[in-house]
């Protein structure tokens, strides 16, 4: 049930992201991550404003300020100091509690947004002539491993393989991209066909690293392609794309950069939007 909900949410997110994130493909990576991070930070601030108890947050923050003042004014009075410190701890806990509701509200949209952004920044497409390993995992059935075939197509060629590993239920090929574009590779097994997106090109394009199994967490992380059914003889298909190398929009850093920018934007916008956080 949970997986089905995530699938529905992904369909909705894919539709919106297909329109909203389209400029990423023709914008420099640092510009798109910065703009998206800043807009997301401001949006999260607005959501926070309307889903949190602003007056309670303001009151708690005032109490914290008062306790900090008490600490500096009565530093020679151990009793007052200890009480102020206790109150500070309590205030911090209260602030955290007051943030829970908006955080819960933002959790799902943020996860969906990050899943969409990962499609653009987590890897780069294969250059024409470049090779990648494609691995198809089957349900536990040695016959499936032995019989699955990859259908020839003009946009790729098999450089090496297949390597069939019946003990581990997978088959791998090393494919070479021949034509730019987002293509679909077809795999054939027992009169059934299974597809997987295959991206060749340069610059930025949405890349699906994995067509997932029927598992809600994998589906959340890999939203672009519909998951295989729980009873499908093919459980998942994965492509190892090259890493994207950039401080702002690269494989290992885009998420950190995005969080930094969104936080900076939220803090910068806070006085203008009059939000207590």
């Amino acid at each position: 049930m949970l997986t089905q909900i995530v699938v529905w949410l992904n369909q909705w997110a894919n539709g919106i992201a297909g329109l909203v994130l389209r400029p990423v493909s023709w914008t420099p990576g640092w510009v798109s991550t910065t703009v998206i991070g800043a807009l997301a930070g401001v949006a999260m601030l607005i959501v926070f404003k309307y889903t949190s108890h602003q007056s309670a947050i303001k009151r708690t923050r005032n109490q914290i300020k008062a306790n900090l003042l008490a600490l500096s004014l009565f530093k020679d009075d151990l009793r007052v100091g200890l009480r102020a410190q206790g109150s500070l701890l309590l205030g911090a806990g209260q602030l955290l509690g007051l943030s829970l509701a908006p955080m819960l509200v933002m959790l799902i949209p943020t996860c969906l947004l990050l899943g969409q952004l990962a499609l653009w920044y987590q890897a780069k497409p294969l250059a024409v002539g470049e090779e990648a390993i494609v691995t198809l995992h089957t349900a536990h059935d040695p016959d499936s491993v032995a019989n699955v075939q990859i259908a020839a197509a003009p946009f790729f060629e098999v450089a090496k393989g297949p390597v069939r590993a019946p003990a581990d239920d997978f088959v791998s090929w090393q494919l070479r991209g021949l034509q730019p574009g987002t293509h679909e590779i077809t795999f054939e097994l027992a009169d059934q066909q299974f597809t997987k997106q295959f991206s060749v090109g340069d610059g930025y394009m949405p890349i699906s690293l994995l067509r997932p199994a029927w598992n809600w967490s994998e589906v959340l992380l890999h939203p672009r392609e519909a998951p295989f059914g729980a009873a499908s003889p093919v459980q998942s298909i994965e492509i190892v794309y090259p890493d994207r190398d950039s401080w702002t929009s690269g494989t290992d850093s885009w998420l950190i950069y995005w969080f930094l920018i969104s936080m900076v934007a939220a803090f910068a916008a806070r006085p203008f939007l009059n939000v207590n956080i």
């Binding site: 390993i133 090496k160 297949p162 390597v163 590993a165 019946p166 003990a167 581990d168 791998s172």
Partner: protein, 681 residues
């Protein structure tokens, strides 16, 4: 009128002067910017470029130059000069390069052989150029033993120290704020520090792998012994497939935080598809697909060093490449020694320490161990000749990429670049049939075809020399130099067996001086390649030879007898024997052997001699794939010096290069050096 004429002339002169100045300026600017087009530094600073070509032999160079196969070196020699370059005694690379570094002999730097011994340990061997010293103090927590180097503990962790003594010549450049950059400099690991920040260096020969050795490959095959086999420089392990899949274990560095250190390992899943003759390797989430005969790219390995909870575990990064030699019927997989990752080095590999990371950021991953051509894999039969040549060629390709980087990033000052290919490929493929027509293991045509590889390599290196000469011939002083030459190595001489036969080493049944020598009856022993030590009383732990008269008598006797050794065919085996006291001068002679044996061409110390083992016979055929060497008499195997500036010295030597470089920068030869500039008569 006169006034007017004068004014007119004056205006013309001004205009002409302005035009000339503009023309010169435009020409200068054009030349300056053309520098960028021609891939030449635009800096106006003094430039000196030194290309160190390990083991390049003057005889072969001359022969190839005369036959027009090394046109670039010939062209450069015509402008400047080409000469033999006297090598070190003994002519071993760590000794020779240390001579180059100090501008002085072994007495100044204290490196006399690949292998040294501490007299107080009675011949326990260690690598001469660097030594790992044990730490001091620790606290024990469960299975772990921690060394905390802060107050109040102040423990001293183990550390590797550079054994080379004396003052390296770049220190004098550094002091004068002159930039010097070295790539793969031998005999400088760990790197000596730069006091003023103008010296940069990537360490070369002597740099260990992640296991702390000088290169230990790992080899997996279906026909390896079930219990595995540790062979010199490598480890063989058996791989057994079940349903097409198998798991092998790569051995990495030791976890020194454990009370009983054990190696940290990384598993590799191997999947073989017999139908497509393809293998898939899975290691730490990375997938590598290989066909027989294919090499993988460099692969990063993360070694997790366990620590006591709740401390976070530490990590050390290594890199390796896989080579699928055969997928079936006998699966064979070679894994390079696990090199320290240059993009995130676990130990200091360069000075400053981030220099190698900067290089790696531009070039990606590359070999960092000192010995990169895997001669041990060839000697142990893991590689055949073709496989070794392919591996050695891939090393050269990698060096050429680094060389291009070095030249592209060079502005002025000193640039030094080292090529190892000519040394390690010569060790395996050199055979001069004019000196000895019969190779000990190869047929004559086969030996000739392998020697052709060496000649082709020289031609390729000549192309590189030509490129640098074209780019910098009129802008920089260029030195092409080698540390020594080469000679056949067909017969081997076991010094310790010879000493045993003459009763200098006892008992007669002694198999190794490290384990079963009777020091109370042993007066001399051999260790390393060229060294012979007296078991001197007061110096060696169990010394018996009285210093003074007895020492002198024994020394004379040994020299005379060694020089009279003849092979079965009457050939002289040892050309000369040198007394350390006569050929070494300086403050660093404490570990010097008493005698240095200079072998005749075609001979060398036996493999067993190096680590003190004995064989029944004194003289044997060398049946190793390592069939050429340079550890002979220094006079037999000089190196080369080719320069684009006239060489005036009649007999230039390795120790003369540093003074020559300093002279190029206007620095007088320091008192620490014994060499003198080759540009003075």
């Amino acid at each position: 009128m006169t006034q007017s004429a004068n004014n007119s002339v004056s205006r013309r002169a001004i205009l002409q002067g302005a035009a000339a100045t503009a023309g010169v300026g435009a020409l200068g600017a054009t030349s300056y910017w053309l520098g960028g087009v021609n891939r030449v530094s635009r800096s106006f600073g003094k430039k000196v470029i030194v290309i160190g070509v390990d083991g390049m032999d003057p005889r072969l160079c001359r022969s190839l130059m005369n036959s027009g196969k090394m046109p670039n070196m010939k062209r450069m020699a015509a402008v400047g000069g080409f000469s033999n370059l006297a090598t070190s005694c003994p002519p071993q690379s760590p000794v020779a390069w240390a001579n180059f570094i100090n501008g002085a002999g072994p007495g100044s730097h204290g490196i006399f052989d690949f292998i040294h011994r501490h007299p107080h340990d009675q011949c326990v061997p260690f690598y001469s150029a660097a030594e790992t010293l044990p730490g001091d103090g620790f606290v024990e927590l469960g299975e772990h033993r921690l060394q905390l180097d802060f107050w109040p503990f102040n423990h001293e962790p183990p550390k590797t120290v550079l054994r080379r003594q004396g003052v390296p010549f770049w220190d004098f450049l550094d002091k004068q704020r002159i930039t010097s950059v070295f790539y793969d400099l031998p005999s400088n690991y760990p790197p000596s520090p730069s006091q003023y920040g103008y010296h940069r260096c990537v360490c070369g020969m002597g740099t260990p792998d992640m296991q702390g050795t000088y290169g230990t490959y790992q080899y997996f095959s279906e026909d390896s012994p079930a219990s595995g086999l540790d062979e010199g420089g490598g480890k063989r392990s058996k791989i057994a497939f079940e349903n097409g899949s198998a798991r092998v274990t790569l051995i990495g560095p030791e976890n020194s935080m454990l009370k009983h250190p054990t190696p940290i390992t990384v598993d590799v899943d191997v999947h073989r598809d017999s139908a497509s003759s393809t293998v898939l390797l899975e290691v730490q989430g990375q997938k590598i697909m290989l066909k027989p005969g294919e090499w993988s790219r460099w692969t990063k390995l993360d070694f997790s060093i366990s620590t006591p909870r709740p401390l976070p575990s530490q990590h050390a990064n290594g890199i390796c490449r896989f080579f699928l030699q055969e997928s079936g019927p006998n699966f064979r997989l070679y894994v390079t020694p696990i090199n320290v990752d240059p993009s995130n080095p676990a130990v200091q590999l360069s000075e400053p320490s981030n220099f190698i990371e900067d290089v790696s950021q531009d070039l990606g991953l590359f070999y960092t161990t000192g010995f990169q051509e895997d001669h041990k894999a060839r000697s142990n039969g893991v590689f055949n000749d073709d496989e070794f040549r392919r591996q050695a060629t891939s090393v050269l390709e990698e060096r050429l990429t680094l060389f291009e980087y070095a030249v592209e990033n060079y502005d002025d000052g000193l640039l030094f670049f080292y090529f190892s290919s000519s040394d390690l490929q010569s060790h395996m493929f050199w055979w001069d049939a004019d000196e000895d027509p019969q190779h000990p293991t190869r047929s004559s045509p086969e030996a000739a075809s392998r020697f052709q590889y060496v000649k082709e390599l020289y031609q390729r290196l000549d192309g590189i020399i030509g490129d640098i000469y074209d780019r910098y011939g009129d802008k920089a002083t260029i030195y092409i130099m080698s540390d020594h030459g080469f000679a056949n190595f067909g017969r081997q001489f076991n010094v310790n067996s010879w000493l045993r036969d003459f009763g200098y080493l006892n008992p007669r049944e002694c198999a190794s001086i490290l384990t079963d020598a009777d020091w109370s009856r042993t007066r001399a022993y051999g260790l390393g390649i060229n060294g012979l030590y007296l078991n001197l009383k007061g110096r060696e732990r169990d010394g018996i030879v009285e210093p003074g008269e007895e020492q002198e008598k024994l020394t004379r006797q040994l020299i005379a007898r060694l020089k009279s050794v003849r092979d079965f065919n009457g050939k002289q085996v040892i050309r000369n024997v040198y007394r350390a006291s006569e050929i070494y001068a300086g403050n660093a002679t404490a570990l010097a052997p008493d005698l240095i044996i200079g072998y005749a061409r075609g001979y060398r110390a036996s493999w067993e001699t190096c680590l003190g083992e004995l064989t029944p016979d004194v003289l044997l055929d060398n049946t190793s794939a390592w069939s050429a060497d340079h550890c002979a008499d220094a006079l037999e195997v000089p190196g080369i010096l080719c320069c684009n500036k006239p060489i005036h010295s009649a007999n230039p030597s390795l120790t003369d290069i540093a003074p020559s470089i300093l002279a190029d920068f206007g620095i007088q030869t320091p008192a620490t050096m014994t060499g003198r500039s080759v540009f003075t008569t």
